[in-house]
């Protein structure tokens, strides 16, 4: 659905995107993560044919950027970082404008469909400028979907939204995913990426890593199991550290934290060693590293 090869973009002397090689499959929700100024928005603009690359190529929905730009614009939807609605015009008229520009066959029908779907139908005659941030964002999402694109680029869809509005947007992205649309999601919200994305790419001018959130956690930190003990001692931790498959073990309060790659296989052995060392186990659980930990680690090392 989206494939880039050595895609680069330079603004004067500033390199915004450096040799991006990326492939996003049909129906995938791909999270594009990176700090401010990393070049995420520039990448989205290149992939939606708003700007051209300095070098490299990309194919979006079967169309090559720079050669079939109108076809690309016709076949993708974009939610820009700022909704950019016409504030003096009604919500309905805002969408009708875009339905006509996207050459939608039944503009009024499509406008009604998405206004109803996003709960804005009753406010359709109100000026967009009177809408809350969340409502404007929903209106902008509706605008991006009017022409039923198979690929959707969402640039910070929940930035500056309150938790309730964010939740609504997340649910809607979930619905779009069920419909099999490909979603390219630029976000700072790592919890959002963790929850919604099949794979994420961490980007800082160049692509640092691409994988599923679970694999990234595992690759960077292994997995962490916590053993709640009645009395934890350093000698118990030392016995665990001696095991060849244990990456790290440390004691915090009465908890023994063990990093390892394959807890399903090795937990029984750890438990045997703990019991043998006289430890009394209250319960065992897995402690998940957040995607934020992964992201911070990657960006710090970049």
């Amino acid at each position: 659905m989206i494939k880039t090869e050595n895609l680069s973009k330079k603004f004067n002397t500033t390199l915004a995107v450096d040799n991006l090689n990326l492939e996003v499959q049909e129906g995938e929700v791909f999270g594009f993560l990176g700090p401010n100024g990393a070049g995420k928005t520039t990448t989205v603009r290149i992939l939606t044919s708003l700007i051209g690359p300095t070098s490299g190529t990309a194919v979006v929905n079967g169309f090559r950027i720079g050669e079939q730009d109108t076809n690309i614009r016709r076949s993708v939807g974009i939610l820009t970082e700022t909704p950019g609605m016409y504030d003096n015009l009604s919500a309905e008229f805002n969408l009708e404008i875009y339905a006509n520009l996207y050459e939608v066959k039944d503009p009024k029908g499509q406008v009604e469909k998405y206004l109803r779907m996003l709960g804005l139908w009753d406010r359709r005659q109100d000026a967009a400028g009177t809408f809350s941030k969340g409502m404007k964002q929903k209106l902008a999402i509706a605008r991006a979907l009017l022409h039923e694109p198979r690929i959707l680029f969402l640039d910070e869809p929940t930035a500056a939204l309150d938790p309730e509005a964010s939740h609504l947007v997340h649910d809607f992205i979930g619905e779009l995913r069920k419909e099999g649309r490909t979603i390219f999601l630029c976000t700072h919200n790592l919890d959002e990426a963790d929850r919604l994305c099949d794979r994420v790419g961490v980007f800082k001018t160049h692509l640092l890593v691409v994988n599923t959130p679970a694999n990234l956690r595992s690759q960077l930190f292994g997995r962490r199991v916590v053993f709640h003990l009645v009395n934890s001692t350093e000698s118990i931790a030392s016995a665990i550290r001696a095991l060849p498959f244990v990456r790290e073990a440390k004691v915090i309060d009465n908890k023994l934290l063990v990093n390892l790659d394959d807890p399903e296989t090795h937990n029984p052995e750890i438990i045997r060693v703990l019991v043998g060392a006289g430890a009394e186990i209250q319960f065992v659980g897995e402690l998940r590293h957040s995607l934020e930990d992964v992201y911070l680690q990657l960006v710090k090392n970049a």
């Binding site: 708003l50 614009r73 820009t80 016409y86 003096n88 015009l89 404008i97 520009l101």
Partner: protein
């Protein structure tokens, strides 16, 4: 064509919600139509017909042979105001078009608009028509008011036929639209290159300076507008229009406009 119509509808829906623009589109033509009528009315009557003062040769030169000296003076003054009348096709588009690109930049609506399959030509054509049509209609309606008013006030005759002669009809119906096209495309050019709507309006207003030069040139007696000068003016405007349309399209660089937002 449908996309151009959509842009025009969108521009009008937005622009005419702005009271200042509405005021300019309605008030300016009304003011510039009524003012020469007031002059005609206030100078009318027996004193005009009995006047026989010697007029400067330059003024006599533009008068028809069947005019009295008073009518000749009236014609001179009113025709000078008719030059100001040409402000309408220049000034109204400045108000509408200067905001058209930079306004979309500041409200961040340009990026989603450019992300649609609309071509630069369609977008600029829509923005052009949205500014040119109101300017031309306002100019022609204003001139219609003036024409009817002058016929009523003068009761027809030599003065009325001089005021509604081919020279002024050419100026209004040919030079007017050409001026509107010049003004719109100049404003779009400026609007594409600046980041502040106020700067766009101020810079775009420069387009009225040549007309003011013509106005003051005639008052100073440097020249008197005649049919030949109007035709030359139309020819120059036509060439300049082609140039500014070309430049407006060339300067409308999607990438530069999007990436130079500050």
């Amino acid at each position: 064509m449908n996309k151009i119509k959509t842009i025009v509808r969108k521009e009008w829906a937005e622009v005419f919600k702005n009271r200042m623009v509405l005021f300019t589109v309605i008030f300016l033509p009304l003011f510039l139509s009524v003012l020469p009528l007031i002059i005609l009315y206030s100078m009318g009557g027996s004193s005009v017909n009995s006047a026989s003062a010697e007029l400067p040769a330059q003024i006599q030169q533009i008068c028809k042979s069947n005019m009295t000296a008073g009518q000749c003076m009236q014609y001179y003054i009113v025709s000078t105001f008719l030059i100001m009348f040409m402000l309408i096709p220049l000034f109204i588009p400045v108000n509408i078009a200067a905001y058209s690109i930079v306004g979309e930049k500041t409200t961040h609506s340009l990026e989603p608009l450019l992300a649609t399959p609309i071509s630069t030509g369609e977008l600029l054509a829509g923005k052009n028509l949205a500014s040119v049509i109101p300017a031309i209609i306002a100019t022609w309606v204003g001139f219609g008011i003036f024409a009817v008013g002058s016929l009523i006030i003068t009761g027809g005759g030599a003065l009325a036929s001089a005021l509604l002669d081919p020279m002024w009809l050419t100026a209004i119906f040919l030079a007017g639209p050409l001026m509107a096209i010049l003004s719109v495309n100049f404003s779009i050019m400026v609007s594409s290159r600046v980041n502040d709507p106020r700067v766009a309006e101020q810079l775009s207003a420069v387009v009225i300076l040549p007309l003011l030069a013509v106005f003051f040139g005639q008052i100073a007696g440097l020249f008197i507008l005649n049919s030949t000068l109007i035709l030359i003016m139309c020819l120059i405007l036509l060439l300049v229009d082609v140039l500014v349309i070309y430049l407006a399209i060339r300067l409308f660089q999607r990438e530069t406009i999007l990436t130079r937002w500050k």
